[in-house]
Symmetry: C2
Subunit: 131 residues, 2 copies
DNA sequence: TCTGGTGCTTCCCATCCTGGGAAGGTCAAT
DNA sequence: ATTGACCTTCCCAGGATGGGAAGCACCAGA
């Protein structure tokens, strides 16, 4: 299977497959004589794992750790759970930050007429004219 | 006022001040004969504006637009409000995505014993073993 | 006046993940 | 044999920030 087919089958673009290989997230693929990368079904499992982990917001480094845990038949589920919950906390921190931004802007916007007049509490708020 | 003092007074690091200048967000500062950038009080206003806008999650391009609106005494407040609410929507989209990630992980983790045993629904979920 | 410490300058690198595109080689079907 | 789709590597971009190096400028104290 060529990289393009592996990309379609796994949902990871060919570009990203090459990049994950470069980052050490997947082992260097076998090559044909012409230099084409060759993938087998088992490689697709790993790619799909990576894609799902990415969809869950894990970073490359964490995905590496998850892959190691996945391959380690003797790992304790506690190790995985700890990683997962730490990641949830990180996500929640980002959510909180974004929510505060949105709330601040909504607050400013609530006082803005939003008509043809130039007076604008939003710009006043950002500029500090109206603290 | 040197760039270091402007940085302290505005809350924008010297590095970022240079970068904003390069990006066209602030006009090229005047220079001493030795090449040092010179800032005046009015420049600080602009820097503080940028910092607050950044704190609200606006990107460089949007901050440029906000600055233009800020300087334009004849703009309609509706224009500003539209931008602000669009940005709120963008923030909410990101929040939603992050919340879905966190929720998915929490769901997987809820079924994970988190003890010394190797069985782990989290890894099963990511790998697709347990769809 | 010399000197040391601090601050300024530019330039490069790294992050984190993704995509675009160029130049050139390969494969398979016509 | 030609063509079109696919592969290879390499470079570039983004968006915002920080680290650090090499070299020059400034100021206070001896």
């Amino acid at each position: 299977m060529n990289i393009g087919q592996a990309a379609k089958a796994s949902g990871v673009s060919a570009k990203m497959i090459r990049w994950y290989e470069e980052q050490g997230l997947i082992p260097g693929a076998a090559r044909t004589e012409a230099g084409y990368r060759i993938y087998r079904a088992v490689d697709l499992d790993r790619l799909r794992f990576i894609r799902r982990a990415r969809d869950l917001g894990f970073g490359v480094k964490q995905i590496g750790e998850l892959l190691a845990l996945w391959q380690d038949r003797t790992r304790a589920s506690a190790d995985v759970k700890r990683m997962a919950l730490l990641h949830v906390e990180a996500l929640e921190a980002r959510i909180t930050a974004l929510r505060e931004m949105a709330q601040s802007i909504r607050h400013l916007a609530a006082h803005c007429h939003g008509d043809a007049r130039p007076e604008c509490p939003i710009l006043d708020g950002i500029s500090g004219t109206r603290p």
